[in-house]
């Protein structure tokens, strides 16, 4: 009986309220149910997916804010002492936003043809974009502005190759 009371107390005390004010971009409505979940412990992947969707939509539609801070969460998560136990909802979504932005830029520009018009000749080149941790590190190091458009992100992440 005593243990049942203790368990019930823990069950009442543990799920503290988590209010989310939704402002999801158009096209991510399927994640509106994910938002209301309060446990990061069991839903990390879903929160990251929600962030990815939001990040892709933001990059495509308008501009994306504070991407260096968002990407530093990915690095922090890789180096953290306690792993998932020190991951909050905000951090999971920020990680998703960073990964989603990188994915959007990669899908749009990688292996795309670019014509460089110099004075004497025009040459064909291709974009080669970074992906994964390399891109994350690049953004943490060099994305200093408050917001970026997609083309500006492309200039950071992609090189022109033959």
């Amino acid at each position: 009986m005593k243990y049942i009371i203790v368990l019930a107390l823990i069950l009442i005390l543990y799920p503290q309220p988590s209010y989310a004010k939704s402002e999801l971009p158009y096209g991510c409505d399927e994640y509106s149910k994910v938002e209301e979940k309060s446990f990061v412990l069991f839903n990390k992947k879903q929160f990251i997916k929600l962030g990815e969707c939001a990040g892709e939509a933001l990059v495509k539609a308008k501009k994306i804010y504070n991407i260096a801070a968002a990407c530093s969460e990915v690095v922090e998560d890789k180096n953290s002492l306690l792993g998932i136990f020190s991951l909050s909802k905000v951090e999971a979504i920020k990680m998703g936003v960073c990964l989603g932005a990188i994915k959007a830029v990669y899908n749009r520009y990688d292996r795309e043809l670019v014509l460089v018009n110099s004075r004497y000749r025009s040459t064909k080149r291709y974009y080669s974009c970074k992906k994964g941790m390399a891109a994350v590190n690049e953004l943490v190091a060099s994305a200093k502005d408050e917001y970026y458009k997609r083309s500006e992100l492309r200039d950071i992440l992609c090189d022109r190759v033959y």
Binding site: V6, L9, I10, L13, Y14, Q16, P17, S18, Y19, A20, K21, S22, E23, L24, P25, E35, F39, V40, L41, G51, A54, L58, K62, I64, Y65, N66, A70, E76, N79, S80, L81, L82, I84, F85, S86, L87, S88, K89, V90, E91, I93, K94, V97, Y147
Partner: protein
């Protein structure tokens, strides 16, 4: 219910040294050797007995057979409610939210923080419950609220000291790096040592509550 001041066993305790002569028969515990008190000492003892105790569970426990006045009782209830409100507002109300531009605002609480908060609130409830169990064996009038309010206020005061210590040390750390206190606190929150700090903080808070509620777990029986 009961009259604590006329209890015969009570006068055998060392806290009632100046009434020893009448009750020499009942001193079955011979380990307490009675020494004559000087005037200053007895006035000090009397002062301590009658003083109001608000953040002082140790004295309250020592002089637990002194009756608690009705006005003190009301003050204790007020203090208990205020401290409870403080704890609830710190641990439960969602002040900690962060806004992500274009996505919405979400709360920043981590599973570790949740765990530690649950642990601390559970510890407080456990101590209050053990106080209730102790009082069931030996009931004292208006003692539960007095002890609970004293212990909770002591928790709050010790936490204030702890907060001041953190502020002071962060001010020193900030000064060594050439920034002010608040940017030093922000730097701590962003740094990789923050998790270690949180673990340390959990242990310290646990210790504070365990120490402040020490007299709730003690038996009240003489």
């Amino acid at each position: 219910m009961q009259s604590t001041t006329t209890n015969t066993e009570y006068t055998a305790s060392p806290s009632a040294l100046n009434e020893q002569k009448n009750n020499a028969v009942h001193t079955d515990e011979s380990k307490y050797q009675f020494v004559p008190l000087t005037k200053n000492e007895s006035s000090f003892l009397n002062k301590k007995r009658k003083s109001w105790k608000f953040a002082n569970p140790k004295d309250l426990y020592t002089f637990r057979d002194q009756p608690v006045g009705i006005f003190n009782h009301l003050l204790h209830i007020v203090i208990f409610l205020v401290c409870l409100f403080l704890l609830i507002s710190i641990y439960y109300l969602p002040f900690d939210q962060e806004f992500i531009n274009g996505v919405g605002s979400y709360n920043t609480i981590t599973p570790l923080e949740r765990f530690s908060r649950t642990l601390l609130v559970g510890l407080i409830l456990f101590n209050l419950n053990s106080l209730r169990v102790n009082l069931k064996a030996y009931p004292i009038k208006r003692y539960w609220f007095a002890m609970a309010a004293n212990s909770l206020l002591k928790v709050v005061i010790l936490n204030i000291y702890y907060l001041l210590l953190i502020f002071l040390s962060m001010a020193f750390v900030g000064a060594s790096k050439g920034v002010d206190l608040f940017s030093a606190l922000e730097m701590l929150e962003d740094s990789t040592n923050y998790e270690q700090f949180l673990i340390f903080d959990t242990f310290i808070s646990f210790g504070i509550i365990w120490h402040a509620f020490k007299f709730c777990r003690k038996e009240v029986k003489q």
